[in-house]
């Protein structure tokens, strides 16, 4: 890896830590949601919301703690990741609070459960736990390579997390939840990170075997039969998730994640081809006998059909919500995205973005997600060790796929799946897990950008340079 030597050479020159850049960006990331919060209050109740100070202090404090910990424990980390995540988290809180004010949703909850409980305070708590986990990752994980030691434990944990929901009752058609008393967890969100750790450790060890032992057929390097084992296993795993948990999103996420990491590890395009063929075969195969998946496809193709409307008007309502937003949106608090009803503030929160921030806001949101992915990929490029590279690309790839699957589902680009928009949607698992994800990326980027220790003074050094051509 010639790149590594390059980075080392550049690293030897004192790299700027960019911590002040981060602080400045973070200030924006805190101020923008506070203004948004004020905006909602004025639009809905014609007055400055009473929770304004608490909210501002809360999000400011969380961001401040995050920043201080990064400054102290990961001084060379990427300066954009923390502000971007904070901005999304802050705006997400505003959107959830805005939907808490909706008379329609309140009436709906009272009709269905007898009472309405606002989601914004809970979400603020989850955000705090998320930041705490973020801080914990930075404090405890001094070097991401430590994770390599836990390759096979990760596999076991990930498997357990993925299988657990099968034993819990389905919620709204998908078995992606486990209920522990008052708490409902989506273990898939955590499994996403843990399985990326497992894949990184595993592929780092096996990548040479997977890459080199192959035959060339019609311009493609076909792997040996026995090397197909792991990909077949992950594939089978994804299909099982799809069949038993009826969750298209998680299934797609894991398989896509594996194919990406396999491709990066082996540099063999044939894996991509294999992956695409297998996922297409799997999806079509399952769709032929799994009514839940068929139904999702049907809803996607005909969102406004009378038969769809009777069962679920969500996608149609979401599409109309986007349409209602138009170019500039209705303005916060002035849209009717609450017509979606169920899951308006979780799976479908993006339609509130679409309606109230408009096309402009949607583009901004999508670009913020794109930027987070881009910073993740850049971290992978800059990382000096294969494990770090694989882990960074795995996490950012998973993040990208998740954003695509959720946003694409809500916007009617692909069939809808039961996943949530990272950081924005209401729901603890998502926020907490994604803060951990950002924590790990920050740790890898810190290691990558950290200047290498000055080379030991050597009498040979100068001579070596002289003879270099």
């Amino acid at each position: 890896m010639s790149v590594v030597t390059n980075t080392t050479t550049i690293g030897a020159i004192e790299a700027p830590s960019r911590r002040n850049t981060e602080l400045a960006m973070l200030a924006f990331a805190v101020v923008i949601p506070i203004f948004a919060y004020l905006n909602v209050g004025l639009a809905v109740n014609d007055k400055v919301p009473s929770g304004m100070i608490g909210y501002g202090l809360g999000i400011g404090l969380l961001a401040g703690v995050g920043h201080l910990v990064v400054r102290k424990f990961a001084p060379y980390a990427d300066p954009l990741l923390l502000p971007l995540a904070t901005l999304l988290n802050g705006l997400g809180l505003v959107l959830i609070w805005r939907l808490d004010q909706s008379p329609r949703l309140i009436a709906r909850a009272e009709l269905a459960y007898g009472s309405f409980s606002p989601d914004a305070p809970k979400q603020l708590l989850y955000s705090a736990i998320g930041i705490a986990l973020f801080v914990a990752v930075l404090l405890l994980l001094k070097d991401h390579r430590i994770l390599q030691r836990y390759t096979y434990i990760s596999m076991a944990v990930a498997l357990v997390l993925l299988i657990l929901p099968v034993f819990f009752p389905a919620r709204n058609g998908a078995k992606i939840w486990i209920s522990l008393g008052p708490f409902n967890l989506q273990p898939g969100e955590f499994a996403k990170i843990i399985i990326a750790i497992f894949f990184s450790g595993y592929l780092m060890v096996k990548r040479d075997a997977l890459a080199l032992a192959s035959r060339r057929v019609m311009g493609l390097y076909l792997p040996r039969g026995r090397d197909l084992g792991p990909i077949l296993m992950v594939w089978a795993m994804s299909i099982l998730i799809l069949v038993f948990e009826t969750d298209l999103g998680t299934s797609l996420l894991f398989f896509g994640l594996f194919v990406i990491m396999l491709y990066v590890a082996t540099e063999r395009t044939s894996w991509i081809v294999f992956g695409l063929v297998m996922s297409a075969a799997g999806a079509v195969g399952v769709a032929t006998f799994e009514p839940h998946v068929q139904q999702r496809v049907e809803f996607w193709l005909n969102p406004f059909a009378e038969s769809t409307w009777e069962q679920s008007d969500q996608i149609g309502q979401a599409l109309m919500s986007f349409g209602a937003g138009g170019t500039l949106g209705t303005g916060l608090g002035q849209g009717n995205s609450d017509l979606i009803g169920f899951a308006a503030n979780s799976d479908f929160i993006l339609s509130t973005v679409g309606e109230e921030f408009g096309l402009a806001g949607m583009m901004a949101f999508l670009l913020i997600y794109g930027l987070i992915v881009e910073r993740g990929v850049r971290t992978a490029l800059a990382a000096r060790d294969p494990f770090g590279k694989l882990l960074a690309i795995g996490l950012s790839g998973a993040f990208a796929i998740q954003v695509f699957v959720v946003a694409g589902g809500v916007m009617g680009l692909i069939p809808l799946t039961g996943m949530t928009m990272p950081f924005v949607a209401a729901g603890g698992s998502s926020v907490i897990a994604n803060w951990a994800l950002i924590g790990i990326l920050i740790r890898i980027s810190d290691t990558a950008r950290r200047p290498a220790p000055a080379p030991a003074p050597s009498t040979d050094a100068e001579m070596t340079q002289v003879v270099r051509p």
Binding site: Y263, G326, T327, G354, L359, L366, L367, F404, A407
Partner: protein, 486 residues
């Protein structure tokens, strides 16, 4: 490892790009379609979010807007004299949508039309509560009242036009319904909606525009026009070659007259005065089906009319044999017309042959009463020449002065008209429709042309019923228009 990483970066970029393209597609390209989607509740929410503009007659609103305490709909539509005006306004219901003017001019009434962009922007700055604009109609309140009250308990319809402009002055249909009775979306509204829908008398059918009737003898005016225009008859006072009885060509059946009336070789004027089936049947046959169709089409037959509310197309059949041509020419067989169509026929004749496009929206007003759009009278064509139109007027005036239409006489006013009794049902078993079409003429041209149809009347089957039942209604409507001009 960096080459695949870069490719994955491009892949992730493509994912985000796909989302960006999709959001542009939804929120820019498809936005209009989604915003007007029939399932989009926002349309309703918007419709009732602001004080809805009014539909105006004679400078006074015939609609209103009442505040509600509903979460979705802030206002509810109200109607003044709902049943009388329903054929004009249509309805705007929170549960059952909107029709007619309420639907067609929804953008103006809600204030969301692009033409009101400036007013909305101003309202935003001045802090005024935004409200909808008004739709000013061409209708004449007195004429409408005369028409509605004249029809009373009977089933039927009245259309009155201003011949010189095409303005609709009255548009009544009975039995009617009160659009306020289902303007909301509660259980009460649903109940009255359902009972209206189930009513065998079809109160929600706009008979003036959407029902077609066999025109009976009133259609003889069109046949007379066709005969004059095509040179089959040149002099309305000259004897026609009309045998009695007349056996329809291609059959052995004689065409019957209603009663023993002097139709043998009658002049055109006389034939119209006493309403001779034999004379007009033979005339229609002589003109020929193609020329008959051509004249009917010039009057507006076989085509939907938009006033701007859609009116059904009236029918003069395109494929006819000789005896069918004769029958169609006296308004039987498959000839069918809306009351609006017959009003257009008589209006064209009263306007010296010039047919004006009928319309009922005079102007659209912004919330601040600025006129944003005014409908200008538009000529649809000249179905008959001025000379022939005046001959037809002379004939129709004879009908009123000395013939079947004497019930429509108004002192000091020249009135021309034609009665009609249309048989229908198998073997003419059902009660006939009574028709009367007429115009009133003053020194400055004709201010009003009317078509009246009364359904299912218990009338005897002769021309008197058209004259007896429908003519007094026409007379009252004409009188109301003339009086309101004084």
């Amino acid at each position: 490892m960096n080459k695949p990483l870069r490719r994955i970066a491009i892949f992730c970029g493509l994912l985000v790009l796909a989302l960006l393209v999709r959001t542009n597609w939804l929120q820019y390209v498809e936005a209009d379609e989604l915003n007007t989607h029939e399932k989009n509740r926002r349309v309703l929410i918007e419709r009732y979010a602001k004080e809805r503009g009014n539909i105006v007659v004679d400078g006074k609103p015939i609609t209103g807007s009442a505040k509600t305490d509903d979460t979705d709909f802030k206002y509810k539509r109200t109607y003044r004299d709902g049943p009388m005006w329903a054929p004009v306004t249509g309805y705007a219901s929170q549960a059952f949508g909107a029709t007619q003017i309420e639907n067609l001019e929804d953008g103006i009434l809600t204030g969301n039309d692009d033409q009101l962009f400036f007013d909305r922007t101003m309202a935003m700055f001045t802090g005024d509560e935004a409200k909808g604009g008004n739709v000013v109609t061409t209708l004449n309140g007195a004429a409408q009242k005369a028409a509605f009250e004249g029809l009373g308990e009977k089933k039927g319809a009245v259309v009155a036009l201003e011949p010189g402009t095409g303005k609709i002055l009255a548009l009544a249909s009975t039995p009617s319904y009160d659009p306020s009775s289902f303007a909301g979306y509660g259980a009460k509204d649903e109940k009255s909606w359902n009972s209206l829908g189930k009513d065998a008398d079809k109160p929600m059918l706009n008979r003036a525009l959407r029902e077609t009737y066999p025109p009976g003898s009133t259609f003889k005016v069109v046949t007379a026009a066709a005969a004059l225009e095509n040179g089959v008859v040149d002099d309305i006072d000259a004897k026609t070659d009309s045998p009695l009885p007349w056996i329809m060509p291609g059959t052995t059946t004689p065409l019957e007259n209603e009663g023993n009336i002097p139709c043998k070789d009658a002049t055109l004027k006389e034939a119209l005065r006493v309403s001779c089936n034999t004379v007009f049947g033979k005339l229609g046959f002589n003109v020929g089906k193609d020329k008959m169709l051509e004249t009917a089409k010039k009057f507006g037959f076989n085509e939907e009319q938009f006033v701007p509310v859609r009116a059904n197309a009236s029918i003069f059949p395109e494929e006819l044999n000789d005896s069918q041509t004769a029958l169609s020419s006296i308004g039987q067989f498959d000839t069918r017309t809306t009351p609006l169509q017959m009003a257009m026929v008589v209006s064209a004749i009263a306007n010296d042959g010039k047919l004006m496009k009928p319309y009922m929206i005079d102007q659209l007003e912004a919330p601040n009463l600025d006129v944003i759009k005014k409908t200008e009278p538009e000529e649809m064509g000249q179905p008959v020449s001025q000379e022939h139109a005046q001959m037809l007027q002379e004939m129709m005036e004879t009908v009123v002065n000395e013939g079947t239409g004497s019930n429509a006489k108004i002192p000091d006013v020249t009135v021309g008209g034609k009665t009609g009794t249309a048989q229908h049902g198998e073997n003419n078993s059902k009660n006939p429709y009574a028709w009367f079409i007429s115009y009133a003429k003053g020194d400055n041209g004709a201010p009003v042309a009317v078509a009246v149809v009364v359904e299912d009347s218990d009338a005897v089957r002769d021309d008197i019923s058209g004259g007896g039942l429908a003519a007094p209604i026409a007379k009252d409507v004409m009188k109301a228009v003339i009086d309101s001009k004084k």
